[in-house]
Subunit: 321 residues, 2 copies
């Protein structure tokens, strides 16, 4: 059966929330349900709707995969605690870095993050809780992109060759599957989330592993995490659709104490875009680019070179990995 899209402009967010709350209650009954919260707008909205529907019968987990931005795990958990939602933080950093060890290829890295999340860390948690339902923040664009072979988020268990109901005894509920991102943002606002969530920049599924070219070791993730924090802070007022720092694998010549030395390069991308389908590099002020570059050179160890992306999408993509 084809999924019936609800366009953002004809969406009654309050009514949509009520309907989804009822549907979740009807499906889950007196049992437990679980979901994973990443802090992105989709999983945050599902968490709020699920909490409205089930209260303490929804177990919400924040999986710290070691690939999050500076302070992100603590920020997300404390935001939801403030909204009355209990979130359990799970430290799975070692498991993710073990899975990523030695992987250079972007697809293999992506795959390792997905598999570790679903097959190992979160899959194990779901079993431990004995929950009969899993709430997932799939949106219609995820379904489209999965069909087109661009992404593989929708019904990820099926794609991993697992029928969750048969295998584990639980069903997947996807309350947002009729919406696009703009619809989700409306629902997020209506359900009481702050603008820091519903207005949040897009951030990729494999998190900072998608922001290093080559192997995502704890050391390299720490470097790009620092560069990301500086970049997001310095470009916060630029009004861009998305901005990011990327750690290259190539080494370039630099100078240290008057002598030639090889060091690292960080690439900055900052995008103007309406819907992420097309995008152009933001025409930042030269003063901003120069201060950003100096801070990265100063604060991120071993970096001797910083570049700014000047190619549009297409043929570029917004992320580099």
């Amino acid at each position: 059966m084809a999924i019936q899209e609800i366009p953002a402009k004809s969406l009654d967010a309050k009514k949509f929330i009520e309907e989804q709350v009822k549907a979740i209650r009807d499906a889950v009954g007196q049992n437990l349900a679980v979901n994973a919260l990443s802090g992105g707008v989709d999983s945050s909205t599902v968490t709020m709707i699920g909490h409205k529907a089930l209260g303490d019968k929804l177990k919400t987990y924040f999986i710290n995969n070691g690939l999050m931005r500076e302070g992100e795990p603590e920020r997300v958990v404390s935001l939801f605690n403030g909204l009355g939602v209990r979130v359990q933080m799970v430290d799975a950093r070692e498991e993710f870095f073990t899975a990523l060890k030695g992987l250079q290829d972007p697809e293999e890295k992506r795959e390792a993050v997905t598999q570790t999340f679903y097959k190992r860390v979160f899959g194990r948690l779901v079993l431990e809780t004995g929950a009969k339902h899993l709430l997932q923040g799939t949106i219609l664009t995820d379904v489209d992109e999965t069909v087109a072979g661009i992404k593989r988020q929708h019904n990820v268990f099926e794609q991993l060759g697992i029928n969750p109901e048969e295998a584990f005894g639980y069903r997947i509920l996807e309350p947002l599957v009729q919406l696009r991102k703009d619809g989700v943002r409306k629902v997020a606002e209506a359900v009481g989330l702050p603008s820091s969530v519903y207005g949040r920049m897009p951030f990729p599924g494999p998190a900072l592993a998608a922001r290093v070219i080559g192997e995502a070791t704890p050391e390299r993730i720490a470097l790009v995490r620092k560069a990301t924090a500086i970049t997001e802070e310095m470009l916060a007022s630029a009004g861009a659709f998305q901005c990011m720092a990327i750690l290259h694998e190539d080494r370039v010549t630099g100078m240290r104490q008057g002598k030639r030395d090889f060091g690292l390069q960080i690439e900055i991308r900052c995008w103007d875009s309406l819907d992420a389908r097309r995008a152009i590099p933001t025409r930042l002020e030269w003063e901003t680019l120069e201060s950003l570059s100096l801070r990265i050179l100063d604060e991120v160890p071993d970096v001797v070179s910083v570049t700014y992306n000047i190619a549009p999408k297409p043929p570029s993509t917004m992320e580099a990995v």
Copy 2:
């Protein structure tokens, strides 16, 4: 004996040329001398002074190492023919690419180009001519940088463990060794060279091999040659000290026909500098950066991403390799 520097401001270029012409004549006598012309300001100036001194008794070679810019070998030879200087072009492309095969490390690439030039291609030519003198465009900065361990151009034979006079029976003359670059430019103008030579942007010894990160194959050199031609053309009017295109080894995600694909990245550098010791990225117009990026994406095969360097020297260097 320390070399006596002649600062540009106290340099009488006409008198300097007369003195060097006399010195070369006195040294060479009725024998043959040889030199290699690259088209750079130093070797061009030596060629002109040597020609003034020796006429047809100076054999000037242009070694085509396959690493030159678009049209450069033909342009240099025809310029000198127009000035009445016969230059013999030597096609050594295969020999250089064979030496560079499989080399990733910048120092090894540099070494391979130097060794192939001196020990093989040019060394062989000098022997074949039976010349007793070799004219070389060493300047005082080369000597300083060799002493400091930054460069290894000065008296390269000695560094390769060869005493040329003992080994081959010829001596090396370095008519420009008392000058810095600004002094050479004054002499170049006075000796009749056009501004396209004495005002030329610096270009590295290993040529385009220094403009690819990783292996310098004929295919990768062809890509960076094309990007270099576009960059130099589009930025000619920017009044920069130096500009360049660099082919990265890292591959980044791009879109082709609506599907994800991995492609190449070109980095543009354009420097404002007085003396190359310190430099800052030129604040180019956004329109210029955007047109440059679009032309490179359009005209250089497999390129999906273009960046602009925004880090100053130091800690960056002007070249990346």
